[in-house]
């Protein structure tokens, strides 16, 4: 395991700088009006930052498939949690018979 760690230093530094730049970009974009796209853009940038932290800082890029699966499963269940929860609450007022949306009087 010790052999190929040397060559990763430049990569780690590159990831670090990328993360800093993207943080700056996130704040900058938030201060400009992109309408309904502001939130998806912020989340997309955050997701990209998360993926480079996971792949490189957390070494998943060089890990076994079992590790890939363990990390991936966490993501899958998070998507299920968010997906089903939001598909319920965000559609509450789509058809009157299902009652009012959360937050409306």
């Amino acid at each position: 395991m010790s052999g190929h760690e040397q060559s990763h230093m430049k990569l780690y530094f590159g990831v670090f700088v990328t993360l800093l730049v993207l943080t700056f970009v996130t704040v900058w974009i938030a201060e400009h009006d992109y309408g309904a796209f502001n939130t998806p853009i912020a989340l997309a940038i955050a997701s990209f930052k998360a993926s480079i932290v996971i792949l490189y800082f957390m070494h998943v890029r060089w890990s076994s498939r079992v590790t890939w699966m363990a990390a991936g499963i966490g993501f899958v269940f998070l998507v299920i949690l968010l997906g089903f929860t939001l598909s319920d609450y965000l559609t509450r007022d789509w058809m009157q018979i299902y009652g009012p949306a959360l937050g409306s009087r």
């Binding site: 704040v27 009006d33 932290v53 957390m58 363990a70 959360l102 409306s104």
Partner: protein, 216 residues
């Protein structure tokens, strides 16, 4: 690999298998953490959708530049953590010690800034509870935003404190020679935990600090 006898637990066949098992175990724990914070993120998403305007007003009360700097500090601590793991894999005890403490110190800066932010909230009656007032008004939905803000950043900070304590303990172990031989994975495993805590913040920052800023 005979020099690493002591690092290999008897129930593993090789150091690689042992490292694989340690990694899998830590990831299994991190998956539970993902669901732990995930529940809070789901709740946040539902209430932000329900009370978007109140959430935007409340969010604009946070200082996005301070939050951004704190994000950079935390990312820096993840970088120093990577360097500590790198040193551990090469068995360099002094470097391990130095980079672990760089990580702890950066984490401490982050927590210090959070304390200043929390103190400011206290001054402005923004702690949820009977004395909550948003810009002089009681009973508004901004309180829900602040409930999520304190719960999520507080839980995150709690995770950081635990991580920092463990990092400090590992730094002592490093000086005592625990990582002088290959095959010890503790620094790498706690590195995974520390990066996870950074990941949570990478999502918390835009979601809490940057709502509806372009209107300002």
């Amino acid at each position: 690999m005979s020099s690493s006898h002591g690092a290999l637990a008897h129930h593993f066949e090789s150091l690689d298998q042992q490292r694989e098992a340690h990694t899998l175990g830590m990831w299994a724990f991190l998956v539970t953490e993902v669901m732990f914070f995930g529940g809070l993120f789901a709740g946040y998403a539902v209430y932000r959708h329900a009370y978007y305007d109140a959430f935007a007003r409340a969010s604009n009360h946070l200082d996005a530049h301070i939050g951004g700097i704190n994000t950079a500090v935390l990312i820096g601590s993840s970088f120093t953590m990577v360097l500590a793991v790198h040193a551990a894999q090469r068995c360099k005890k002094i470097q391990i010690f130095v980079w672990l403490w760089a990580t702890i110190i950066l984490g401490g800066v982050f927590l210090g800034v959070k304390y200043v932010e929390y103190a400011d909230k206290w001054q402005h009656h923004l702690i949820p509870g009977p004395n909550f007032q948003f810009e002089g008004v009681q009973g508004g939905h901004e309180q829900i935003f602040f409930a999520f803000y304190f719960t999520m950043t507080g839980l995150h900070a709690f995770h950081m404190v635990i991580g920092a304590v463990i990092l400090a303990w590992l730094s002592v172990l490093a000086l005592k020679g625990r990582f002088d031989q290959p095959g010890r994975n503790a620094v790498e495993m706690i590195g995974l935990y520390w990066h996870f805590v950074d990941l949570v913040w990478i999502f918390l920052f835009p979601l809490l600090y940057l709502i509806g800023r372009h209107h300002a």
